[in-house]
Amino acid sequence: MKKRHLLSALLLVCTAKAYAGWPIGKYRHIIVPSLSFYYSKNYWDANGRKVVTGAGNQFSSVTAGVTAGYGLSRRTDLYVSLPFTTLENKFVGGSQTQSGLGDATVGLSYNIAAFKYKRYLSVQGTVIAPLYSVNQTGVPLGYGTVGAEGKLMFSGAFVSSSYFNMEAGYRRYFDNKGPNQIVYDVNIGTPLDERKKNQLTFDVGGVTSFSSNKNLVVTGNPNLVYDGYYVKTTASYGHKFTNKVSVFASAFYTVVGRNASIGSGGSLFMIYKF
């Protein structure tokens, strides 16, 4: 795959949808192990036009991650996530692979208001710390620099038994090239049966990234977007085995973008609450 402007598909975002915005609750815990797959071949250029790459170019990654949350108080939750990623970038004449720990995150969310205890308005601050180093020859596992993110979340009961989560935030990587990013997401979920054992969720989200780095030839990792944007849609199916254990499977596809890869993938994750 030609090394072009790239897509940030933080696959763990998929897992976050299952609980984002709702306080975990004082003394309660949540653990979300996940396994994600990402694939891209083509991309959108600087004008948003689709570019089809030649045969033999493709990028794929598999990420195993775990996110853990702990309810520090009724309003404050602590989140920690840790991904392990294996990347493979194939291009005509060769390929590159890289494996290792990715960007760890540590975040605190605070519930500003609970509207009749049915809808919640929360803020979350997250620090992003790379657990890898970037060298000139390898495929980087991430931006390779410390970042921070702040976001506002509104979530809760929607019509009938359905629920929603909306969030928007700003993410900054502390490097002279940034990037600085606006992140946003809207998610709606609905149970498929009276017992709420099965549920379906739909999600639209994206990243708009700003950077002084206008060079489209970047790193070989299409999970990284510097000066561009993308919007992706996700559909998830979840099954609740008990009131503590649920398993979700999701699939996503990028629908529009600029200086970003056209990617698709899926993830499987379990939510264990205790």
């Binding site: 709702w22 975990i24 609750g25 309660r28 205890y117 008990t242």
Partner: protein, 449 residues
């Protein structure tokens, strides 16, 4: 507040109904030639939930909206009274409402000492009279009620528990397949309690999973219990104490005489058996982990009489993990009796006690009545609770005076306690409270949200 020109009878009936439901009273002129219209009055407290500080004033904003097609002049009078109807302060302001006009009036009452106060806003206009009644609380955490705990209180209840311990429970648990469904298993439970009285209850256990935290639900006054099938995160045991619902084999008083059954003898008063029935119910839960119950996570819950029973169980038995109740009936019986009789018409349940005292005039006095109740007053149990507590109070409650509820609350010495109020509710709580209570139960019993 809706006001139509109606006859005196209908106005009186409407006033009575409003008095019973919202504490607001409306009076209308009856002249058929009077102009038609409505007046809407909204009294909004300056502090959320009408809870004020003793260091500040009591502020209310009164919004008045008229739909009359004529101008009206008159006066807005506001009075502050104690909860036993003693006038503390009053003021007034002139009101002029134009055709379809509206007005906003700020009422600021000078700072008051901790307590519960009645606020009456009376609007007297050319064609309209209306009174809106509200209740404000000043520094509820500092409300102190007198304790009347008998010297042998602890030994009295220790003896009762000893007697209960000698009664073989003879538990029987039978699944009610007609009420069970794919989500929850329903069991009818029978057991023996004090004086070998047979009592019954409903146990519901979710079908999936195991080791369910338990909500132990205690009954309100003559409220038959039903299986709780809508709590997917908990097992629920709802007990019918003696004389209630399914437990009326031997003890079966009339509903309006329930709380005066054997009241003249502290050792035979119905609530002695009732309180022990509740302990026996807890014994049942603790001995049936095999039904999928987590016996290390048991919360007692109740409203009104059930609140009293929850307090008693949490105080007498340390196996309780958490205690939540609302509208605690009988709390601080001395003050409750006094407040109940201070109303223009004595409120329930004090009126029932009064009726009994009238019948037994001469042989059973108010003093004797209160002396018996000192053994049963939930406020005398409060200091013995050591688990987390959540209390709900309806500020317009006439059955359970808020002063008495807060007085009992302030006698709690447990490490974690909190309360919520419903400022516009009488003997009931609002939706918000029950949503919060559910979250509180999940927190206390460590159930995932």
């Amino acid at each position: 507040m809706l006001l139509h020109r109606v006859t005196n009878i209908f106005v009186f009936a409407g006033c009575l109904l409003l008095l019973l439901t919202t504490g607001s009273v409306a009076f209308a002129q009856e002249d058929a030639d009077d102009p038609k219209g409505e007046i809407f009055m909204e009294a909004k407290p300056g502090h959320k939930n009408a809870i004020f500080s003793e260091n500040g004033s009591i502020a209310y904003k009164l919004k008045v909206k008229s739909t009359y097609d004529v101008r009206q002049d008159g006066k807005l009078t506001y009075e502050l009274l104690t909860d036993d109807w003693k006038k503390v302060w009053s003021g007034s302001t002139s009101v002029r409402l134009g055709k379809n006009g509206s007005g906003t009036y700020n009422v600021r009452v000078p700072q008051q000492k901790p307590g519960v106060y009645r606020l009456h806003f009376a609007l007297n206009l050319s064609y309209y009279d209306d009174t809106v009644r509200r209740v404000a609380v000043v520094s509820p955490e500092k409300i102190v009620t007198e304790s009347h705990m008998p010297g042998d209180f602890d030994s009295f209840w220790a003896k009762a528990k000893d007697q209960l311990g000698k009664v073989k429970p003879e538990y029987t648990v039978t699944e009610d397949v007609k009420q069970s469904n794919r989500d929850v298993r329903v069991y009818k439970v029978e057991m023996r309690s004090l004086d070998n009285v047979k009592i019954r209850g409903w146990l519901t256990v979710p079908t999936e999973g195991k080791n369910w935290p338990v909500i132990y639900k205690l009954p309100g006054y003559n409220i038959p219990m039903k299986p709780e099938t809508d709590k997917p995160d908990f097992a629920v045991f709802a007990i019918d104490v003696r004389g209630n619902g399914m437990s009326r084999d031997i003890v079966a008083p009339q509903a309006d005489r329930y709380n005066v059954t054997n009241i003249e003898n502290r050792d035979r008063y119905i609530y002695r058996g009732v309180y022990m029935d509740c302990i026996r119910g807890l014994d049942f839960i603790m001995s049936h982990a095999d039904l999928g119950l987590n016996t290390s996570k048991v919360a007692v819950l109740g409203g009104s009489q059930g609140a009293t029973l929850a307090v008693v169980v949490a105080a007498l038995d340390k196996r309780v993990t958490a205690c939540t109740f609302e509208l605690p009936l009988y709390a601080d019986m001395h003050d409750a009796y006094h407040i109940g009789t201070s109303f223009p018409k004595t409120t329930w349940p004090v009126n029932r006690f009064q009726d009994y005292l009238k019948i037994r005039r001469g042989s059973f006095t108010e003093a004797k009545f209160l002396a018996v109740w000192d053994y049963y007053d939930p406020q005398n149990f409060a200091s013995k609770i050591s688990c987390p507590v959540l209390m709900g109070v309806g500020l317009l409650d006439e059955f359970c005076p808020p002063r008495c509820s807060f007085g009992m609350y302030n006698k709690l010495t447990t490490y974690q306690k909190e309360f919520r109020v419903a400022p516009d509710k009488a003997h009931e709580m609002n939706f918000d409270y029950f949503m919060f209570q559910l979250l509180w139960l999940k927190e206390s019993l460590r159930v995932p949200n």
